[in-house]
């Protein structure tokens, strides 16, 4: 099958357990190339777990995780590292290297995986910082940045190798409304300009309606609903309705799923 027909990411009936606790109970999803897909659901439902299964940091108990048609769960370390060069991952708090400058943070993947001379690296890094609206901040240290700026630097770093797929773990959590809009706009622009496939994990329904092309709603280890955000908002599935409209009452329990008696 030619690469462009294979979905960028595909989960087939994935089961994942953390200790005794069942996190994912037969989750399947298909994320087409070029789309921004959102994975939503209440906190602790296993959204981040899905990203870590895609990046190969976790392995499913059963089922398959395919990235560009290749089974991540069957890869050895070397194949995994090769796959990750083509995969950007924006971690929850950005996870910038605190002892390196902004410039060096963005330059790190280039230095590691591309054989470029110093002026070429400087050109790329400056261009990428400019693209996230942070031109001229290269000499700052991460602790001198605001939360929103740090997130943007992390975004620049995540896409500096021109990956085909970028995973975003709660990219808007803990940011002020303006920074949220900025990050949203950047995710959209980066996705379309660079021709990426993006997966965004979030619980922010309002932002997701604006950003995502397609949504998956995860509840109690299963996909409770999927579809374009507008369709989901009008869904009459009780779990989807509860989440999309933030109701306290509904099938999604207000309890830790691992607690006794649940």
């Amino acid at each position: 099958m030619p690469l462009n027909d294979t979905p960028a990411i595909r989960l087939e009936d994935v089961v994942f357990r953390h200790g005794d606790r069942l996190i994912l109970d037969g989750v399947s999803m298909t994320i087409p190339r070029g789309a921004i897909a959102a994975v939503m659901g209440p906190s602790g439902v296993g959204k981040t777990t899905i990203l870590r299964l895609v990046s190969g940091q976790l392995r499913p108990e059963s089922g398959r995780v395919l990235v560009n048609g290749e089974d991540v769960s069957a890869m050895n370390r070397k194949a995994l590292y090769r796959m990750r060069e083509n995969l950007g991952f924006l971690l929850q708090n950005g996870a910038l290297f605190t002892d390196l400058t902004v410039f060096e943070n963005v330059a790190t993947p280039l230095r590691e995986h591309r054989d470029l001379d110093e002026p070429a690296i400087a050109d790329i890094v400056e261009a990428r910082l400019d693209a996230v609206g942070l031109a001229g901040t290269g000499d700052l240290m991460p602790h001198e940045l605001s939360g929103g700026m740090a997130r943007r630097v992390a975004l620049a770093r995540a896409v500096v190798l021109d990956p085909a797929i970028v995973l975003f773990d709660e990219p808007m959590a803990g940011l002020d409304p303006i920074a949220v809009s900025t990050i949203n706009a950047l995710i959209r622009r980066t996705n379309d300009d660079l021709g990426l496939t993006s997966v965004v994990v979030t619980h922010d329904v309002v932002q997701m309606k604006k950003l995502a092309d397609y949504c998956y709603i995860l509840a109690e280890g299963r996909i409770a609903g999927e579809g374009p955000p507008a369709e989901l908002a009008a869904s009459d599935d009780p779990a989807v309705d509860q989440f999309m409209n933030g109701r306290m009452d509904g099938p999604i329990p207000f309890r830790y799923a691992g607690a006794a008696g649940s």
Binding site: S55, Q57, Y81, R82, R84, E85, L87, F89, L91, Q92, N93, A95, L96, F97, T98, T108, P109, E112, H113
Partner: protein
């Protein structure tokens, strides 16, 4: 019952695998050499002052005790021999390693533990950068390189301390002091024997620190535990390995 005994064995096994993973990551590359030197500066050169101060005072107290003990047999002029032998073979390498564990081992464990807690180790893995090669290995090699050098400096300062006390304070004859030291202490057996030990201690301390940093739980308390464990376990290991190496090689 069995699970309780299995856990330490499993931990030791994982630590062993971690060491192999580090060794397997050694490459003859400029980048790795550069980072190793940078770490040798951070963990080694910055331990220099404390090592020198401690060495000086250990030398003085050794001379004091030795003179007191030897004077009972009228052999106070043998002080440099006693100081030299005990220092080069045992006290220099062991005390340097223990000080290094407290000064540099804790820093390594806390730094790596914090990198883990803030997701930086994760970020590296996700960028297809091996954190064992990039973070653990340079620190391990830095320990291997800097502890023998620190040991030599410790011993030199201790001899100086002994000189100050024995000759300066107690008024022993300088010529006797130096000639006893020169004839009695052998470079190959005494001095180099200690240096070889300190190479092992250096790797032991920095390797233990890197291991505890990497296996720290990603929380504040986890980092604190990792730092404590580094000092406790590496100190115990240094003394145990010291006994084993001494009984095999002498």
């Amino acid at each position: 019952m069995s699970a309780r005994w299995l856990e330490p064995v499993a931990t030791a096994g994982r630590a062993g695998l971690f060491t192999l993973q580090m060794l397997a990551a050694i490459r003859p590359s400029m980048k790795q050499a550069g980072e190793t030197l940078r770490q040798a500066y951070l963990v080694g050169a910055r331990s220099l002052i404390i090592i020198m101060i401690c060495g000086f005072f250990v030398g003085m107290v050794l001379a004091l005790q030795a003179i007191n003990a030897l004077a009972q047999f009228g052999a106070a002029d043998q002080v440099s021999l006693l100081v030299g032998k005990s220092l080069f073979r045992e006290l220099g390498p062991v005390l340097t390693a223990l000080l290094f564990a407290g000064r540099a081992g804790t820093a390594i464990a806390a730094e790596i533990g914090l990198m883990k807690a803030t997701g930086q180790i994760d970020a590296m893995e996700l960028m297809a950068i091996d954190p064992v090669e990039r973070v653990a290995l340079p620190r391990f090699l830095a320990g291997l390189i800097s502890v023998p050098l620190l040991t030599a400096m410790f011993s030199a300062m201790a001899i100086l301390g002994a000189v100050v006390f024995a000759i300066g304070v107690m008024g022993l004859d300088a010529g006797v002091f130096w000639s006893k030291l020169q004839t009695g202490v052998r470079f190959g057996e005494d001095f180099m024997g200690g240096i070889w030990k300190s190479v092992a201690f250096g790797g032991l301390v920095s390797g233990t620190a890197a291991w505890y940093g990497f296996s720290a739980r990603p929380t504040g308390a986890g980092v604190a535990t990792a730092t404590t464990n580094t000092v406790v376990i590496s100190s115990v290991l240094v003394l145990v390995i010291d006994f084993i190496m001494t009984s095999f090689f002498t």
